[in-house]
Structure formats: C-alpha cells, structure tokens
C-alpha cells in the first residue's frame, strides 16, 4: 500500500478522460445517491459517486476500473466541492484505484489466519502466473495486491477478486478460479471447498455437540 500513488496528470490522461461524463443510467443513479443527503450536504455523496465513477471507467475499459484525475475533477464539480477534498477521499480508501488496473484485481490476504492456512502458497501461485505487486500482467487481465485481513478468517485462506471473495483456497483451487475467470466464466463465489457449504465447521462439530439436534442445558455439567 505504500506504493499507492496518483497517476500523474499528463496531457494524454487529460485527452483520454477530460470529457468524462455520466452515462445516462449512471446519471440517474448519481442523482438518486445525491438525493439521499440533505440539501446543501450533497458532498456527503462523494464516496458512492467515486465508486460509481470507478465502475463506469471499469465498464469502459473492461477492467475493475480506476479514478483518473479528470474523473475526480468531474465528481468535484458535480458535487460543487473543492477537488482536493475529493482526492483526499480517493487516496485514503484503498478500494478506490488511483492508478490503472487490470481486468481482475487479485487481492490475496496475508494476515495471520490466512498465512497459517497457507496463503504463502497462494502468493507463490500468483507469482508463478506472472502477477507482481503493483503491476498489470501483460495480457491486461491481472492486477495483484497483498492485503491485510478481509474478515474471512473462518474460511481462510481467501482471495478477493473484484467484487467477489474466494475462500478455502489451495493452490489448485485458486488456479481453477483464475483459469475460469480467464476463460470468461464466472466461478462460484465463496468457499471453494466442495465439502463445505458456507463457513460451517469442517468435519464433525467438536464444540457444543449435544446441541446439534436439540436444545441441551449444559449448566448442570459445569
């Protein structure tokens, strides 16, 4: 994350994005978002609108989307707020991409529970497929980030790719997911363990076993 920097403001960038404007559908959505906030407080809508703009850019480029400087300026003008305040928000939250990004943004969790359950293998897998921190793969498909806890520790290790989480991964399962994405398929989100439905315990329950089928009063056994 230390390597996050705003894409420089170049004439090429201006030429490409200088005439950014909402698509008709997004214009409707933007209006609706702004209407959620009281009159005169329209700048509260900056976060949903940045997300909307990022998605629109993504749809245009067929990637996860990112926020070029002219797009941030468009949002600032749309909400009538100082541009520096928009940039502050966009640079603070890591879910806003402030530099170009690939079709799939692979975010591998490397925090302790995932690490204990084998996230190092996932990192190695990603590396072997040519993914590198802060770079887009040559085919434009993959961007890669190692992130901190995403809150899926019960089904660690996990990877977030664009809007979906893929959990209970092994090197093979991750390869399967990535291959499917590369083929243009939409693999099932969530746990990739065929024996698991969601984040229920793996195998036989070991705790409060007597409560599985019926209510049981443990108090007399304490």
């Amino acid at each position: 994350m230390a390597d996050r920097y705003i894409e420089p403001d170049t004439p090429e960038l201006r030429a490409r994005w200088g005439n950014f404007a909402w698509t008709p559908e997004n214009a409707e959505k933007a209006k609706e978002v702004v209407a959620r906030y009281p009159e005169g407080r329209q700048r509260s809508a900056v976060m949903p609108l940045l997300d909307l703009a990022q998605r629109q850019v993504g749809a245009e480029l067929n990637t996860q989307g990112w926020l070029p400087i002219p797009v941030m300026e468009y949002i600032a003008a749309y909400l009538d707020m100082p541009i520096i305040r928009v940039v502050e928000v966009a640079t603070f939250y890591t879910m806003y991409n402030i530099a170009p990004i690939g079709r799939f943004h692979v975010q591998v969790c490397g925090t302790t529970p995932c690490m204990l359950r084998g996230s190092d293998d996932l990192l190695a897998t990603c590396k072997s497929r040519g993914m590198k921190k802060g770079h887009i793969s040559e085919d434009g498909l993959w961007s890669f980030t190692e992130v901190e806890c995403m809150g899926n520790c019960a089904s660690a290790p996990m990877v977030q790719i664009n809007d979906d989480n893929y959990e209970d991964l092994t090197s093979d399962r991750l390869n399967a997911v990535l291959d499917a994405l590369a083929r243009g398929e939409t693999p099932k989100a969530g746990t990739q363990d065929p024996a698991r439905h969601t984040v229920e315990p793996v195998g036989e329950p070991t705790n409060l076993a007597a409560m599985i089928t019926e209510n049981h009063d443990y108090r007399s056994e304490w």
């Binding site: 705003i6 403001d9 520096i84 305040r85 940039v87 502050e88 640079t91 603070f92």
Partner: protein, 672 residues
Amino acid sequence: MPKVKVDGVEIDVPTGATVLQACELAGKEIPRFCYHERLSIAGNCRMCLVEVKPGPPKPQASCALPAAEGQEIRTDSEMVKKAREGVMEFLLINHPLDCPICDQGGECDLQDQSVAYGRGASRYDENKRAVTEKYMGPLIKTTMTRCIHCTRCVRFSEEIAGVDEIGALYRGENMQITTYLEHAAKHEMSANVIDLCPVGALTSRPYAFEARPWELKKTLGIDVSDATGANIRIDARGREVLRVLPRNNDDVNEEWISDKARYMVDGLTKRRLDKPFLRRDGKLVAVNWNEAFAAIATLNPGNSIAAVAGDMVDCETMFAAKKLVGALGSKLVEGRQTGMDYATDNLAAVNFNTTFSGIETADAILIAGSNVRWEAPLLNVRLRKAVKRGAKVFLVGPEWETTFGGEFLGEDLSVLGNLPQNVADALSNAKRPAVILGGAALGRGGLEAGLALAAQFNLVRDLEDGTKWNGFNVLHMAAARMGGLMLGYAQKGGIADLIAAKPKVLLALGADEVDFTKFADSMIVYIGHHGDKGAHAADVILPASAYTEKAGTYVNTEGRVQWADKAVFAPGDAREDWTILRALADAFGVSVGFDSFDQLRNAMIKEVPALGSEGLADYGSVLPNGGGSAAGQIAYPIKDFYMTNPIARASAVMQRCSAEILHGEDLAEAAE
C-alpha cells in the same frame, strides 16, 4: 463556570473551555502541535496528554476534552511524563535529525518540546520514512519528510483563508500534505501556514538559509502595504531587513499578515534612492547633499509650493512637510494622489467605524466598490468569520472570487440608490447592519449615496446590550490615508486644486501614483526611497527612508493610531524624511519650529491630539447627510495584488508571485 483542580489547585474555568485551556489558566504549560487557538480542534498529535479524573485510567488529549465540574487534572504525574515521552518518541520516529540544516531550527516547536518533554534518545533503528518535496508556490518551501501531520496548514487554508487548496493525501504513515497537483497556493494569506507549521516542513522560500532567529534584531513595526495597519515584527541583521512576521493583535490582524506585507521586504534593498539627484539637461545626475540643497535654495518658491503625500508615509513626515509648506505661506497639501475629492470635514464619514473586530459580528453587510481580498486581505478574513456566524453579504462591483459567498448585485454605482428588495429587507431587518465602501465607490457620488444608506437603514444605533454600533465604513487602501486626512492632507477639490494653483515647487513625499504630467511647470522635489514613478518625474530627488528605517505614527483605516519603531538605517546617503524636511526649511530660509524628532512629534500631537495616544481616534458617530445619486461603472483600482506600491514593485519575490500566481507563467523552478 465549572470548577476544576489542576495539579491540586482549584480554579474556575469559563463554560465551554477545554482541559488544555483550563491548564493554561492555571499557569501550566501543555505541549502541543496540532492545537491552535484560532483553528478548529483536530486532536491528532496527542502531545497534550494529561491525566484526568474521573475518566478512563489512561492519559487523555486535553485539547479535545471539555473541562467539566469537579475534574481533577494532573499535568505533573508520572503517567503524564511517560505519555509525553512516548508521544514524542513516536513523533520523532520519522522526523529527520536535520536540525542543523533546517530553517526552523531555533524557533521550532518540535525541537523545543523534545528538549523539554522528550526522553533524549530514540530506540528506533529502522529506516525513516522519506517524503518527496511538494511544490507550494514561490513563497512556501517544503521539506515534507519533516512533516508530523498536525494538519494546521490544512485547517488554516480551509477555515481562515477559505480556499481549500491544501489537503492530506493517502493515509496512516504514508499521509502526505500537499496542494492539489502541487499547484502554487493561490491566496493572499498563504504564507501564514509557514508560521503555523510547528516543524520545518513548511518554511519560507525567500528567507531560506538566510539567517538563524537568534542573529536577528527584532523591532516592532506597522505594515504599510495596505490600510489595515497590520502589526508586524521586523527581523533585521545588520542593515538589512531579512523578514517580517506578524505580531498578535486581536483588534487588527489577529495573528496573520498578507503575503505582500510579509514578502515585499526584499524590495527594500533594490532600486533604492541612496544619493541625492538633480536633473541637469533632462538627465538625473547624482550629487551630494550640499549641492542638492544649494540647488533647492535657488528655487525661491515663495508661497507657490505644494506637497503631495504618498501612500506609505508616516504622520510625522506629513506633519513636517505641512509645517514647511505652511511656513512658506501655502496651505496646499494633499494625500489623495489619484484625484479623489470626497469631503473630509467629518472624518467619521470616511472611516472604518465598525472596526475590524466589530465587523465580525455584523449580520448584514453591503460592500460597494471593493475587492476586499486584494485591498485588505485581513478584512477578508473577518468577513469570512462574519459569514460563518450567519451574516449575509451583498456586493456591488465587478465580480471577484470571494471566500465567503455573497451576492453580487451589479457593477454600477447606481445600484446603491436602487437596492433590490431582498437586500433592503436584509439590511433593515438586521440587528447589526454594515455598509463598506471601497475606494472605487467613493467618487461619482458614491460616498454620498452610501451616507444616504446609512441614514435609511439607521446604521448608527444603540444596541440592546447598551453598546454603540456604527455600521458605516470606508475601506481605504493607503496606509497614510487616515493619518493624512487627520493632518489636513485634503483640499476641497482634491489634487486638482494643486494642479490649478500651478505651484512653483511640488514636494512629492514618496508619491508615486500622481499624474506628474499635470505638474509640467512645477519643480518636482521627490523625497522618497524608491526609484519608481515619482522619481522618474522628479527634478530633484532627496533620498529618504522606507517604513522600516524610521520611527513613525500610522493611522489605519479604522482610525487606529499605531506607532512603529526604526529597525534599520537607511542605505547610503538616505536620511529620515523629517530631517530632510527640516534641512529644506533652512534651504528655503524659514523656520518650522522643531529641531528633533521628539519636538516634531510633540508639535504634531499638540496640533492633532488624537495622534498622541495609541488606539482608535474618536471621530464621533454623527454622519453627515448623504443624498444625491451615484452612477458610473465600478472599476477596482488594484490590478495586481502583488504590485501595489514601489517597495513591492522592486521586490523580486513579489514580481515572481505576480508572474506565477496571477499571470500563470510557468517558471523554471515550478517544473522541478
């Protein structure tokens, strides 16, 4: 009034005070970086930790904690000592140890407080964070590695200046303070962030590596770059003024000054008149004082002499010149160089009566013919405060970028006689209505129309709390204006009276804005400090002192009498103005009645007693009747904020500001 105990001593604190303020009231020093009296509370540096009971058993940030009844505050416990040492150690983790090459050294909050509250050594042996320099314009030099993220500069630009241009990008350890895309800070007050910065992250670019604070002689002065009379401290080493800093004065400038007041001082060493000059065969030739006076003695003006005062001269100079002209039998003295001829028999009608601190409390303000941001940046800050408190502001004149909103009503003076209904309603329903007339609205019947509004909306009134309210204001642009008017530097017809009199000799006291072509038949004796427009037209040049080089009395646009001291000596053969005028009296063979500065000042005070006491001069609250109709397109006199006076025009820093900030020139350094 909650009662709290600070280190065992019980004190009453005002309602709404914070624990930090309570500790200060009790005389305890609380170290702080992010907290500043005039900015909102951020509470992010954690340096002000104290122990408070009742409360959680841990130190609390006193700046953001309201003082409550029965609190027991400790600032001297072991917990507080350890907390401060801990915070200081964290702050210093990423702060470079470059004090020897840092311009803030010697006046650095971090340096002082680490000596006083730090633990003396760091246990951190990782690499320090490094941050790239940010470009913030020609005035602010940045070394962002030194930044401790107090966000004072961000809060200043948002809250005081009203221009959101500085922000904090990224997060956590990677947070960086910058302007948007590293554009120059485009505000007339931008350099105040340098004073606010508690470390050496934002330092002064023109003053970079010039001097250490302990080498400087500090002199109390008054700024002359506009008519607000900001209180300044002049820091000089040897004969050179190296920098100007604001002094606290809540009535005038709070603790800010404009960029022009701060940075035009490098112009004091450039284009200086340091020798007398005589015009011989159309060319100015350097001579010595004796030759100059010998030449003047041959002029024999009799009573055909007049004096024009420039915008930056002090009252003593004007008084001495008036005495000289009077001794020769003339009464022709004038200060309004550009030809204004408003009536001055009642000075309350041309004064900023509400006062700067008073205008903050106004609830409806009509501004006519003034680009306040350029004519009085410090007043602009007050207007912004008033708007934040709920005041409605209406403006007459061409549109400029206000920092407080406001509604522009039109560009013609005739609007004053025909206010839209909503404006009239706002002014008549207001408890504290105010009208501000700028220089561009004084002529062509504007002043009379303004006075008519004063009567119509009852601007002079007694408030419910028993105090007097005078909402009629004239905002001048020249530091010498109110003093000049008090000394009688105003003819009925303005400078036209002087032109009509065709004086044999015209004394120009630092007057650079006069149209000298109209005085083609007069011998022009220029007594001033810069080789600017006045010197170009002069027949005799007598080198005098700039505002830092003489003691003097100044009266600001509120009618506030203030005294300045002499910081340095004038360069070369230049002398203090009054001594030149005294010597001129000898050359002309008349007596002016003073031989020393004290005698001069006493004579002046005897004639105008109000100049004898610091503070607001009393012009009474009775306004003359206005009336008549005003008409004419308003054009603001200031075309370039950074180039309004000869010192600023000579200043390389101001020239660069003008080129880069106002005219958008890309300078080589900007691209670095």
